[in-house]
Amino acid sequence: MAQIFHPSTNTFSKVSIFGALFLIGGALWGLAVLNRSGYATQAGVAREQPVPFSHKHHTGELGIDCRYCHTSVEVSASAGIPPTQTCMNCHAQIWSDSPTLEPVRASYRSGESIEWIKVHDLPDFVYFDHSIHVSKGIGCASCHGRIDEMNLVRQVSPMQMEWCLDCHRNPAEHVRPRDEVFDMAWWTDDQAALGAKLIDEYDIEGRDDCSICHR
């Protein structure tokens, strides 16, 4: 029986076996990239909200402090989402007949919650706590980005374990004076010197044992 393949195809098949390694490698690499991409982490996606509440407007332009609304961020795990009453503090009087604010007024009249759509959502097997990050001098902007420039909130960090660990293993690159935690635009030219000083002062260990986040 005549050979179907010419001997020269041997080289071809060798190359393709070798090539397959690259293909598989490439596919794995592709998966890793995809896994970190905005598509998988949902970073960069602004959520439609029941009321088009704008952080840019309220914090960037009016200069309201984060804690006016997120009252528990310094003392508890959850930053807290403001109740309708907090909006009515001002909107009982200003823009009190704006149609965009009707859901807020309806909620105030009926006592039913406004159902905000969660933007950041860690898996339930991860423990996260805002208060320790605030008290150790990690600014809101280090994790949430320039909230004061966003009309609708979007997630800017991947919020994956790798990302948490990057900072936990190297907190000196991110720590800032406690007074500046709520300042979205804070910036220093000499993070290296400041970081080293604050790590000492705030007694930061930079922990990365599994049990602090998976408890």
């Binding site: 200069g63 959850s78 009982a92 898996p123 339930d124």
Partner: protein, 209 residues
Amino acid sequence: MRSPSVKTDRRRSRLARVARAIAIAAVLAGVLGGCRQDMHDQAKYEAFERNEFFDDQRASRPPLPGTVARGHLAEDAAFYLGEADGALVATAPVSLDQALLARGRERYDIYCSPCHDRVGTGNGMIVERGYKQPPSLHEQRLRDAPDGYMFQAITNGFGVMPSYAPQIAVRDRWAIVAYIRALQLSQAATATDLSAADLAALRAHETSK
């Protein structure tokens, strides 16, 4: 020579093995995928999550009216209400120190400055956008008002100003009152009120400009 029947048997069994492997992989993928999602969204409630069980569908339950958390009995009327024996307390029932003033300043800037502005003259950003203008905190009437009066304005609201009790803890309200006193002093202080050292520092600052 092997019989054809055996051959087909073998082929069938190989097919069956491949099919079984695919089926197992599919089930495994399903199970693992399922597990992953289960663990991502566990049968527990996070803060503010929806819970169909309750009429208002809130998983974070508000305390029942009249309940008191352990250690939170508001016995001390002077501290919690700003009143003692039916009269407003004249001075804040907390010990006054630098830390309290610093805390008061921080809380004042967060919760009051949007309307009363940072020095208390009543020209805050929200007022500029059309909110009713509050009186200046430096009016003589408010300078003479007892600390309890300020405390109650924060706690119960005043006129169109809403109550800030849900947002500000009791001790912080007293810290704010203390800071308002400092503001009032700052806007009416004269050189003679300063200590010699402070005065010298001020002079040095003036001449360096």
